[in-house]
């Protein structure tokens, strides 16, 4: 060997240590700190930090807003998994298997929302729903459905689905691309054999495509669940701030308001821990449900 082991260790330290130290300080410490802060009552501004044990969690247990927020989070998870997976699977199959000439056009266009920031998407859609200047109401008026005209984001019943639509709108492209990658790896000979056996396209889809891209489908669903629980609050915070009342509150938006607007940092930290626990449990359960033997080809 050309290098002595001392040189080698120095090189390894050079490669790994600086990054890992920064990671400890700016990622690991804040996460453990979040757990630690959740046992305190603290307004942030004063130096008085009172240890209150599990009181923040007891308070969470009795907080009706957080119950609504958890329900809303699951509403978004459910609607996004169904909406994004159905549409992106359909588009992925259409664009890979049906030899459509303008497929590259659709692939590029469908991905556009994925590169836009969630703030911009939130603001844009907030104004699409706007009662006076928005596209939705002016469209409904134009086609004569005036009884449907309403302030979408100010309506207790309609606010959640109204936020879910841009969330799906913004998600399709990425998952479509992931599934397209999976489909293009499925051997063509399988479909040819199925054609000879007289299997319909519908049968080929369920018997060949879905089982063979199951790993990609599973990954996509888990990814949607995680990103939804961890990130759907950005859209909520921008579009409605959790309102009207707390009709569209999700855990993340509630954390932001409690901590950074009402300065209840201990309580906010407890909400952060709750988000982590809910996310982990949901992912574990769905991983169990989605488990399926891997198909070899």
């Amino acid at each position: 060997m050309a290098h002595t082991s001392k040189q080698r260790y120095l090189f390894l330290a050079f490669c790994l240590l600086p990054t890992f130290l920064l990671f400890l300080v700016f990622t690991v410490y804040p996460m453990l700190g979040g757990l630690y802060y959740s046992f305190f009552e603290w307004s942030g501004t004063s130096s008085v930090k009172t240890f209150i044990g599990l009181d923040n969690y007891v308070k969470l247990w009795n907080d009706s807003v957080i119950k609504k927020a958890i329900f809303n989070d699951f509403f978004f998870v459910f609607v996004k998994v169904i909406g994004i997976m159905t549409l992106s699977l359909f588009f992925a199959v259409a664009l890979t298997q049906l030899r459509i000439k303008e497929a590259p056009f659709y692939r590029i266009v469908f991905f556009f929302p994925n590169i836009m920031s969630v703030v911009v998407i939130g603001i844009l859609w907030q104004f699409i729903y706007d009662p006076s200047i928005g596209l939705v109401n002016s469209f409904l008026t134009k086609v004569g459905l005036t009884e449907w005209v309403r302030p979408w984001l100010g309506d207790m019943t309609w606010v959640l689905p109204s936020i879910a639509i841009p969330a799906i709108w913004a998600g399709i492209g990425l998952f479509m691309l992931l599934l397209m990658g999976g489909i293009s790896n499925v051997p063509k000979s399988l479909y040819e054999a199925a054609d000879i056996d007289g299997a319909s396209e519908w049968q080929q889809f369920w018997r060949i495509t879905v089982p063979l891209i199951w790993p990609q489908i599973k990954t996509s669903i888990l990814y949607i669940i995680i990103t939804s629980l961890n990130g759907s609050f950005v859209l909520v915070q921008v579009m409605t701030g959790g309102g009207p009342g707390s009709a569209s509150e999700v855990m993340g938006s509630y954390l932001y308001q409690r901590a950074f607007e009402d300065f209840q940092f201990g309580y906010g930290a407890a909400i952060g821990v709750l988000i982590l626990v809910v996310a982990l449990v949901t992912v574990l359960i769905s991983q169990f449900i989605l488990k399926k033997e891997k198909v070899e080809y």
Binding site: F110, G268, I275
Partner: protein, 274 residues
């Protein structure tokens, strides 16, 4: 049979394309309209293409300043991410030891944990270090937050490099640093491209970290400035200016993406999936 389903399938494809494009077209047209036009004819083309909304957004509503700040954070964040990730990815891929496996798993596990959990301590940590309201610190925070994802992608690309190349260089007396920077790094250029494009887009678009960690208006990045502009626009009914601001935030990414979309798709299908 195939021809028939091609026609049927085109209908939903076209519909979705419209659902994606229409809001964007509406936004671009709105940026050229006067308030009166926005109210009276939301579906019509603007009567004239004047850029006064863009000028107002850029100068009077701080979007220009924020644009430059976002640019700074995006470039610095992307460079820092690479500096932190390439050596780590290389060491973790080439030295397969128990320790290395643990380290990989620690990085991967952190991707599953919601960043929200860490916000409050991170805010107070930066406050103590006197780094709040500091674009350099924000770039560093961005970079570290994307290190796990970047390592994850780069490890795949480094794994494809034949070991013989490195061994030959070592025999020639090249130092391990030379091997890393002069041989390995150039060979994973396409991986570096893909991951950097994805990182840059998310730094450009980031909102909440910037909202929490930046405070003075002159330091804000585009996301935060857009949110402020929205509040002001609602108050002053400056709708055209708001749409112009949205365009300023979106157009660079759309251009950037259209230029580089091939390498994103390629990188995603080659690196991330397998």
């Amino acid at each position: 049979m195939k021809a028939f389903s091609q026609i049927i399938v085109r209908i939903p494809l076209l519909l979705w394309a419209m659902i994606v494009i229409l809001p964007l077209v509406w936004m671009f047209m709105g940026a050229f309209k006067t308030n009166a036009e926005i109210f009276s004819s939301p579906w019509a083309l603007p009567q004239s293409f004047n850029f006064s909304n863009f000028e107002r957004a850029w100068n009077d509503f701080n979007i220009g300043r924020a644009f430059l700040n976002s640019f700074f954070v995006t470039v610095l964040g992307s460079v820092l991410t690479l500096l932190l990730s390439i050596p780590t990815a290389y060491a973790l891929e080439r030295i397969r030891s128990k320790m290395g496996e643990v380290l990989i798993n620690v990085y991967l596990a952190s991707m599953m944990i919601p960043a929200v959990l860490g916000w409050i301590p991170l805010f107070f940590l930066l406050m103590k270090l006197n780094l709040l309201d500091n674009l350099w610190a924000l770039s560093l925070v961005y970079a570290i937050s994307h290190v796990p994802f970047t390592i994850f992608i780069l490890i795949g690309f480094i794994g494809n490099i034949p070991k013989e190349l490195e061994e030959a260089a070592m025999v020639d007396g090249m130092s391990p640093y030379g091997i890393l920077f002069k041989i390995v790094t150039p060979l994973i250029k396409s991986g570096i491209m893909t991951v950097t494009i994805l990182n840059a887009i998310s730094y450009w678009n980031e909102f909440f970290m910037a909202l929490i960690l930046l405070q003075t208006e002159s330091k804000t990045t585009l996301g935060v400035a857009m949110n402020l502009l929205k509040t002001k626009a609602q108050y002053e009914s400056a709708w055209g200016v708001l749409f112009a601001g949205l365009c300023i935030a979106v157009v660079p990414v759309i251009i950037f993406y259209t230029i580089f979309q091939r390498s994103i798709v390629k990188g995603m299908t080659e690196g991330a999936i397998k």
